[in-house]
Subunit: 232 residues, 2 copies
Amino acid sequence: MFTDFLSVRWRKSANGCLLNDMSHTPGVRQAQKQQTRQALLDAGLRLLEHQNLSSLGLREVTRAVGVSPAAFYRHFPDMAGLGVALVGESLGSLHAVIRAVMAETTDSAGIIDRTVAITAEYVARHRPHIRFIARERYGGVQAVREAIAAELQGFADEVAAGLATQPASKGWSPGELRVLAELYVDHMVMTAAAFLDVAPDDTAGLEHLAHAARLRMRIISIGRAHWLDPQP
Amino acid sequence: MFTDFLSVRWRKSANGCLLNDMSHTPGVRQAQKQQTRQALLDAGLRLLEHQNLSSLGLREVTRAVGVSPAAFYRHFPDMAGLGVALVGESLGSLHAVIRAVMAETTDSAGIIDRTVAITAEYVARHRPHIRFIARERYGGVQAVREAIAAELQGFADEVAAGLATQPASKGWSPGELRVLAELYVDHMVMTAAAFLDVAPDDTAGLEHLAHAARLRMRIISIGRAHWLDPQP
DNA sequence: CGTTTCGGATGACAGTTGTTCACTGACTTC
DNA sequence: GAAGTCAGTGAACAACTGTCATCCGAAACG
């Protein structure tokens, strides 16, 4: 009954875009499949707010979704598989954000304020995702660790490319620029993780953390500006 | 039989130091207890190299030690209890190291080199402990997370106190100094975690990481030196 | 010496887990 | 409209988990 209702809903939208991207196996079947796949991901993420991926049970997830344990295998080979999928979901949308921030041409103080503000907002909007990333970055599941590391390296690549175009990078070798980019990325992760430790509605605590984050970025920024000065 | 052999061995050493420190309940009994307690900690740490604390089973640990599952409760109320004990064991000895490094009076470049070298050596010598800290810092067990956070805050306190005595800190407010100290501590943790990702015998990789760590510290150090410069 | 203390062993308890299997029935394709 | 695909089911499997009441025997104590 319920499934029927959903299938009709999905058939309509499938009719709307019949011959768009995927040629064969189009329509209701795949839509329903991706729907329960997404339900598994959502339930997993929710359960992971208070435990580690390595202690999250397969049955626990399927029970939360309301499907049989065996159904899990139609979507992921492992719990590690669900983990890597969650990494993509958590960090995938950040590439565009980073590119946008790096493309802005403002003064140093302005870009620091904006970076911290965007980080705070992103954490506020995707709390469980960020918590998952922080928790599993050095967690017990190798595949997930590697997926996160690859994603963060991608971020560092983009930041390094952005830094290279700035006039303030004159005199920096590519290797040094890469280290600076990684420092910025690690600082962003560190700040995001710190935001997780205060309640989402504790505006005073959040502002305190944001202030500290801006201060740290300013120190790094000043160090970058005086990098070529004669050393004492 | 095996227990008998051990008890005789311990009786001898207990006779050697009969009336030393603890007045009552002295000797063999406590020594044996602390011995298996340590065995539990060691086995736990070894098993935690490839998994998370929240997925580590009580029976798994006792099996590795060779004692019955019920014996675990004589030493820890929980697996979380074993976790907090491991935090103390991992980070306790670092306070002295940090104090020693902060007390040294060398030039900025020298202190950076030494800090990175000491970090690398400490990681090399206590690999499983550091891995445990990195893994559980944002892990799924609240008590352990809090224990780690408390220990790291203690480090930041000591670094802040050390920075306050340096002439380079003129013009810094206590709050700003505290942020700087936390930045140094976080950077140390970040560097230590990075060391874990390369093989212990990969000297080239280790030197590459150490080089990057020195570079990052130099950026921060320069930023600190020019903190009071008029901003452009 | 006898008595008490207590670290550890034993065995059982009720749950839970991951994985596999044949299967059903709605969607897809010809 | 018949044939095929395939997401999801239900049951069963062996293995495992944390916790408990109970007992044992060596160390500690008077």
